[in-house]
């Protein structure tokens, strides 16, 4: 039943996020002609259009914010809502509470990452275009992986900070700070810009001119990102086990 609790806590956020992503994704397809002109003065091929508006553009930013929203909650929030006492009196470890929430949340992030891969190739033929499913699913892998890291950042923020807005603001600022540092000279050698990992910009596995992923996905980078996400979650679990409620 802990799974059910975790699902019920995040259900509204997840479903609203999914609807938003599907609607926006579908709009990008159906308003291809109008939106294409707004992106570039030159005519764009359909894959380049999809990449620029979806995988590099607004939808990617939206996805990152939604991943943050899905990472919020947990015992600190329950303390604010005064339900933590009921939860902690259950014969369940804090580790299990956090693990359940993490698995459900990560599952939701992965599902959100798959939506563009379903919607775009499915709807494109309706406007006489085609977008390769293989491309869309490859981007899904990139999004899901980086989304896991963003989710973990939000989860850690929600463990550390109470208050309705503090945790999301801290997570967004943390994300912004990381992105900034990843572009600054002394750090750029050591930090990978996760925005670029998601979109493929400046990455050897992506050809910007054609908007197509050309090479194998960066397994080492993705593994490192997942490792960082796991580390943040482990820190969150460690802090949770020591907190007073």
């Amino acid at each position: 039943m802990l799974w059910y609790k975790a699902w019920r806590e995040s259900r509204v956020r997840f479903l609203a996020s999914a609807v938003a992503l599907v609607v926006i994704c579908a709009s990008f397809v159906f308003f291809h002609h109008d939106a294409s002109g707004g992106i570039s003065d030159e005519p764009l091929s359909y894959p380049v259009y999809v990449w620029r508006i979806t995988y590099k553009g607004y939808l990617r930013e939206l996805f990152m914010i939604l991943a943050i929203l899905l990472g919020l909650g947990g015992l600190t929030r329950e303390r604010d809502q005064r339900t933590a006492g009921f939860t902690l009196a259950l014969p369940v470890s804090r580790w299990r509470l956090l693990a359940t929430r993490t698995v459900v949340g990560l599952g939701q992030v992965v599902l959100l990452a798959t939506l563009p891969a379903i919607v775009t190739p499915l709807l494109s033929p309706l406007i006489g275009q085609a977008y390769p499913s293989s491309q869309a699913w490859a981007f899904t892998i990139l999004w899901a992986t980086v989304g896991s890291l963003i989710f973990a950042m939000a989860l850690l923020a929600s463990v550390l900070f109470s208050g309705e807005f503090t945790a999301p603001v801290v997570a967004i600022l943390g994300l912004a700070a990381y992105s900034f540092l990843a572009d600054v000279r002394p750090f750029e050698r050591y930090l990978t810009d996760i925005h670029d990992v998601m979109s493929g910009v400046d990455m050897p596995y992506f050809a910007e001119r054609t908007g197509i992923l050309t090479g194998p996905l960066p397994r080492a980078t993705l593994f490192t990102v997942l490792l960082a996400a796991a580390a943040l979650i482990a820190v969150g679990a460690r802090i949770t086990s020591r907190q007073d409620f």
Binding site: G85, L88, A89, L90, P91, F245
Partner: protein
């Protein structure tokens, strides 16, 4: 009644910065009794209960719940399987309906009694399909009590259980607690409603400023606790009563009022030796003991 202890603490302390919420608490709760945990608001009752249930970590000291160490997460989790708890907030997951929350809670406990849950649902007139967020405060309290009373735990811990209930519901609750105790469940409940404690408790622990200041059975209260009032012809002597059993001494003009436990005759005799013109020895109520125990020294 058993003499076994279901709750034991030794020098249990919880500090928040410089503030000691609980200070060197030595608490013993006997099995198969109803123990009232009395104290003013902020006396440390809830913090003590939270430490017992592993929600808050003690700063120092030790404690056990049903024989399991409270500061060992694994042992505490084992103990919680046999403990039902109603917190002071009575806040429950707002997104669940009443029946969903019952189903959710039931899934964690082997001692769940569906027939009792069904009966309480009817008695408390709780609408099963209604969301918890749409329940009134009183209904939420009743739901929290239902979730605890539908089990048959070894220990039932209630933190201000009657808060938010009307007088009829309070009466029903007290009867149910007595019924649960008669079935062998130990009950430990905090309250600042002295009348409730006096109605059902076998034993009373009084906490003040985080420290245990009294621990007695209601039988002991009737037999041992007395107020000895000494009247003097002139101003009451500034004699320091250093005798066993003396809890409090109040001096007012020509009168000395002494709260004493178990040694009233000797105190009265001492008063007479001090030339008291009147000596009254009267039984004392729980309310008086409580007020004397938690009143600041003047």
């Amino acid at each position: 009644m058993s003499d076994a202890r279901v709750i034991e603490t030794h020098q249990l302390t919880k500090r928040f910065g410089q503030f000691a919420a609980v200070e060197a608490l030595d608490l013993n709760v006997r099995a198969q009794q109803i123990t009232g945990f009395l104290g003013r608001n902020g006396a440390g009752k809830s913090t003590t209960i939270k430490m017992l249930l592993g929600m808050t970590h003690p700063t120092s000291g030790t404690g056990s719940l049903l024989g399991k160490a409270i500061d060992d997460p694994k042992e505490n989790r084992e103990a919680r399987r046999n403990v039902a708890y109603v917190g002071e907030d009575k806040q429950l997951y707002p997104y669940f309906t009443v029946e969903e929350l019952i189903r959710f809670t039931r899934s964690f406990y082997a001692d769940w009694r569906p027939e009792v849950a069904q009966r309480l649902l009817g008695d408390y007139e709780l609408p099963p399909k209604r969301k918890v967020r749409a329940l009134s405060k009183g209904m939420r309290t009743k739901l929290a009590l239902l979730l605890a009373l539908s089990r048959k735990p070894e220990l039932l811990i209630l933190d201000e259980p009657s808060e938010g209930l009307d007088p009829v519901a309070i009466e029903e609750l007290l009867q149910r607690l007595v019924g649960a105790a008669s079935e062998g469940t130990t009950i430990f409940f905090s309250s600042h409603q002295i009348a409730e404690v006096e109605r059902i408790a076998d034993r009373v622990c009084i906490i003040d400023h985080g420290m245990l200041v009294e621990d007695f059975s209601l039988d002991e209260l009737q037999q041992d606790y007395r107020r000895v009032t000494l009247g003097f012809a002139t101003s009451a002597p500034v004699d320091e009563f250093r005798m066993p059993g003396i809890r409090r001494v109040h001096r007012a003009d020509r009168q000395l009022s002494v709260l004493v436990r178990g040694n009233a005759d000797a105190v009265a005799a001492h008063g007479r030796s001090m030339n008291a013109v009147s000596v009254d020895v009267v039984p004392i109520s729980l309310r008086e003991v409580f007020l004397e125990s938690v009143r600041s020294e003047s």
